[in-house]
Symmetry: C2
Amino acid sequence: MSRLPIYLRTLADLPPSQTTCSSEQMAALAGVNSAQVRKDLSFLGSHGTRGVGYGVLELRSQLRRALGLNTDYAVIIVGAGNLGAALSNYGGFETWGFAVVAIVDADPAKIGTEVAGIQVESIDQLEHIVAERSVEIAIIATPSRVAQDVANRVTGAGVRSILNFAPAVLDVPATVKVRRVDLSTELQILTYHLQQ
Amino acid sequence: MSRLPIYLRTLADLPPSQTTCSSEQMAALAGVNSAQVRKDLSFLGSHGTRGVGYGVLELRSQLRRALGLNTDYAVIIVGAGNLGAALSNYGGFETWGFAVVAIVDADPAKIGTEVAGIQVESIDQLEHIVAERSVEIAIIATPSRVAQDVANRVTGAGVRSILNFAPAVLDVPATVKVRRVDLSTELQILTYHLQQ
DNA sequence: TAGATTGTTAATCGATTAACAATC
DNA sequence: TAGATTGTTAATCGATTAACAATC
């Protein structure tokens, strides 16, 4: 196992009201095999007790550490259009340790307005903001036309992780990680089952 | 292979200016192994010519058929907030055979306004719209609080595919397929590599 | 002690890839 | 014919799972 399986994230949220939990229970919860759960947990340096199960509190903090949920990551959103606004308003980020520290846009009419309680700043400030606020993740929510430009600028400024919502393939240095959320692909996958 | 690999979709868009294309070229394009390309295409009932490659036009139409890109799917967007608006404005849907036939919202202030050239309708009309316009896919872009309610209503109305943007797990009949786009998970995956 | 559950091995399964005869 | 590329087999690789001794 080179990388932590993502299903473990659901277990990082286990209610501590239950003091222990068996691999069988966790498997049912996460929809995987119990042997897999035991194997993955043992890889983390397991702390189960035979005949009893795993201590939930211990497990939670262990998983959170392993999954990087204890650190806060500073996020910049580039593009204050509908998508940028939707992302800013999205409630789920803080829960998982992401802090939106800036929203920037190129449109002078948008600069200075508030989106989700954050003032939109000028894209001219991008490099400055990234450096000053230790931004680690950039979310590109611009038209595809300018996505590559933005990617160049954020990577130039030192960002090493990009979440790209623009329907465009970005060309970045190998050290930069890009994840693309392609809404069409998501719909595509849904249609597999429509065709029986 | 139980299901068509999604990487084939990139090949369905091959420029027909090039009359033939080798498995090697396609592999480079899609970032997979050439043997895999040949195997998958042969599964579709292959039409390559040894020593030459695959006919691009033939391949395109074959892939489009196999991937279901020839049919048009009617989509309803539930929620005309920032996310709903972002999705409506998203240019990529039509390209892949999805037609947004309605946007509905519960807020009377939003009903009647235009989003991406489509008039927002009342959520009261949901069942009526689904039936009348043969809606097959629902996109849930509402607050999580009401997501389950919406899911109940759209499945009740006959929708069998849901793309869920609300950070909530939906409880639906087994015959209904739900895909959840969880923005936090996407960020999560990005952070794996931040931790070296 | 008896029952439950871990941790780990070995078996299984499936997916990926190398290799090459077939053949354009 | 010579070179290129397919289609497919067999080998490899990795991931999943069954099974069970260890042990709480």
